[in-house]
Each structure stands twice: as structure tokens, then as C-alpha cells.
Amino acid sequence: MSPPILPLRLEEVVFAAGGQVIIDRVSLEIAAGPSTIILGANGAGKSVLMRLMHGLLEPTSGALAWNERDRLLARRRQAMVFQRPIMLRRSALANVAFALEVAGVPATEREGEALAALDEVGLRPLAHRPARVLSGGEQQRLALARAWALHPEVLFLDEPTASLDPGATREIETIIKAFDAAGTKIVMATHNLGQARRLGDEVVYLQAGRVVERAPVDRFFSKPATAEAAAFIKGEVPWVGF
């Protein structure tokens, strides 16, 4: 077994696009263990920060390094679930198998592993349905199955339930907890305070591209250290019910 890819260290990471600074000198260490919630309002830069960490975007300046120096190896042990899952026009099973194929899993093992992953998210009965005709919640569970099959060390989730109803949201949260229980490091962006409480161990609060506060989840909500975080919690409270 190769050494773990965590921790991930960001030093003075800046990301600018079109003359606008979206991520502003962020320094963070993401360590194995506690589930990390990237919390912030829309436009705070949560999605961009996740994409920088996952390697889909390159920092404009600053440094971002995994414990595993080989970026390709590091990439293979991460997975990301997006707000809107993108499924290929093939069966649910084939979508998971595709991810395994790209990851270099031998053809003979793909189907078994893909079925096991579908089982994990409760989609085995729909294995042979075309993925694109599944409901939004089912597609998001399929995206999680696709990630599960890869046994990632780190799972990035970018507002995975933002476009789902409460029932589907609960199912997704249960699966995320299963990832956590299986030892996968969770890094999730959300603006939903209830979800942050339910799934998070620590909160990184982002505002206007800067990390304003980082704290264990209990302390963040009971005694926020910064006025910005306190205002966000207060302003967002009506959302907790969602």
C-alpha cells in the first residue's frame, strides 16, 4: 500500500478569472479524519476551492500539494460528486463500470465491483436502467456509487443535495455517512447549515474567497469567533429546516 495522499496543503492559493479574484490567499491543511464542511454563501468561492483541491482548476498563484507528490497517483485516489450529476447515455451499471475502466480495473472485475457499489447505494434493482432516465435523486446516488466503486481516500462533494427534495437529500446524507464510516475523508461544500451540522466534524467558513473561520462544528455554531460567521449563521437559520 502506497503512503496516504493526505494531508493536502494549500499555501496562499489565489485563483483569479477574468480579472476577478475568486479565491484570495487561502492557506489550509486538509487532514485525514474529520469530515470537513466548506461553508459559505453563494458566490463565496466554495465550488472553485473544491475544484482547485481536486485539480480541475490550477491556482493562479500559491501552492497546493498532496502528501503524495505524484499528482496522477493523488488524483486516482480522490473522487468528486458534483451538484448536478453527469451520466453517460448507458445503463447505471455501465456508468459505474466506465469509472472502473478509466481507473484501470481489469474488465473481468468491473461488473462485480460495480454491482457491489450499486448495492451500497440501493440502486441494484435499477442497474440495467439507462442512467439518464433515472430521477435526480437516483442519479445523485448513482454518482455516489460511481465514487464508491473507486474506493477513494478523499471524496469531494459540491453541494450534492442542492437540487434535491428532502427525501432524496436524506438518502444522499446516509450514503455520505457510510463513506465516512468506511474511512473516506469527506470534504463537502454546502450553504445548508442543517446539513453542515449533520455531516460535518469541522467547518471552514468561506466569505468572498477568503477563509474567515475554521472551527469544530459544535463551536462554530454555538460560539462563532468572527462577526462574519455569526452573521451568516443568523441569516441562514431559516434554512435549517430544509
Partner: protein
């Protein structure tokens, strides 16, 4: 006019063997050209859609501009290439159906490639992050993309087929409209028109339109069925 078409159709069906040879050759030439242009055009389109390289914008402009290539100009260029003294003269293709396939391939390759490039690029915008996240990049990503939107690409291929089966200039120049060898429907129509046999020309035209309609309808049915099936 309608009477003339009816008269033309009656005459067309009297020609039987000779006519069906013309129809079959038309289909053979145009479908071969579509097949070749698709095999060459789709990978080219996927490459331009997925890869970022210097001069990419220029390639797109040129591809789009080439969609409007005049068939006679393509015919002339292919004629020069294939004529005895030309660089490919030794192949002996000039005035054979092979030369017509080459000319039509050159003519419709930009059409298929340019339209497919647009469709693939739109899809790439949707798929890029997901595919890159899974580790599918470059050729693997391009092939995955082509396969996944294959039913949308049918439209690009049909546009190529329409152009190939409708054009007369290129096949006339490189084929020569030789009776029983390189005469296709469009060149036959041009010939009958210049001979003054308008009813026969009209009848042939009606057959040509019917065939193109049937091919398009079949392709559309396949596309619709597939889209219902796969979403």
C-alpha cells in the same frame, strides 16, 4: 407541372434496368463518401472540440468556411489531383466511381466535421469536469464523448449525405457522366434537362428527392427511438 412529373415518373419506371443502375450508383457513391467523411470527420471534430492547441480557432474558422465549398471547385481540384499528370494520376481513378467518392468525401468532410465539432463542444462543456474527475482525458474522453452523443451526431452525418446526394458539379467533373459507368442521378438530370427532356428530368428529380427523404426519415426514427431508450 404535375402532369409533367407524372409523365416523368411513368417514363422513369419504364427505364427499369438502366435507371436502377443509375440510382444504385448514386447511392453507392454518396453513401461511401458519407462513410469515409464520417470516419475521418468525427475524430477530427472530437479532437478540435476537446483539445486546446495553438491555432485551434483558425482551424474552426477554416472548417466552417469549407462547409460552403463550391462542388465544381472541389471537382476541379480532385480532377487535377487524379488526372494522368497529377500527383495521384497513377491510381487511374479519374472517370471512375472511385474518383466521385473521393470528390464527394472532400466536399462533405468539412460539413460533417464542422457540425459535429459544434455538437461535441457543447457536450464537452457539460461532461468535461466529470470526465476529467474520473481521469478520462485526451483520446479516451474524445471517444467517450462521440459515443455518448452519437444520436445527435446523426444530424451532422445527414447534412453530409444531403449535400453529397444533391451535388452535381463535383461528380460531373471527375466522373464525366459516362453512361453506364459514372452516370448518377444528378448528372442524368442535368443531361436530360440540357437535352430538353424535361419530364424525364423531373421524374428523376422526384425519385432522388424520395430517396433522400426516405433515408432521412429512417435516420430520424432510429435517433428518436434511441433517445427515448437512453435519455
Amino acid at each position: 407541372m404535375l402532369a409533367a412529373i407524372a409523365e416523368g415518373l411513368r417514363r422513369v419506371f419504364q427505364l427499369d434496368a438502366e435507371l436502377w443502375n443509375i440510382v444504385l450508383l448514386s447511392l453507392e457513391v454518396s453513401l461511401s463518401a458519407v462513410l469515409l467523411a464520417t470516419l475521418l470527420g468525427l475524430p477530427l471534430a472530437a479532437l478540435v472540440a476537446v483539445k486546446r492547441f495553438p491555432g485551434r480557432k483558425a482551424v474552426i474558422v477554416v472548417l466552417n468556411a469549407l462547409m460552403g465549398l463550391p462542388p465544381v471547385v472541389v471537382g476541379l481540384l480532385v480532377y487535377l489531383l487524379l488526372s494522368r499528370a497529377g500527383p495521384l494520376g497513377s491510381l487511374g481513378l479519374l472517370f471512375t466511381p472511385g474518383a466521385m467518392v473521393v470528390a464527394q468525401t472532400v466536399l462533405i468532410l468539412p460539413i460533417i466535421a464542422a457540425l459535429a465539432r459544434q455538437a461535441l463542444e457543447d457536450a464537452w462543456r457539460e461532461y468535461e469536469e466529470q470526465l476529467r474527475s474520473l481521469g478520462a482525458e485526451g483520446l479516451k474522453a474524445a471517444l467517450t464523448l462521440v459515443w455518448d452523443i452519437r444520436f445527435s451526431l446523426v444530424t451532422a452525418v445527414l447534412a453530409g449525405l444531403g449535400r453529397a446526394s444533391a451535388e452535381v458539379g463535383a461528380v460531373m467533373i471527375v466522373g464525366g457522366n459516362i453512361d453506364g459507368v459514372t452516370r448518377v442521378m444528378t448528372t442524368a438530370i442535368a443531361l436530360e434537362t440540357s437535352k430538353g427532356d424535361l419530364p424525364l428530368a423531373l421524374g428523376l428529380g422526384a425519385v432522388l428527392i424520395a430517396i433522400v427523404l426516405a433515408l432521412n426519415a429512417a435516420a430520424q426514427l432510429v435517433k428518436d427511438a434511441a433517445q427515448r431508450r437512453f435519455g
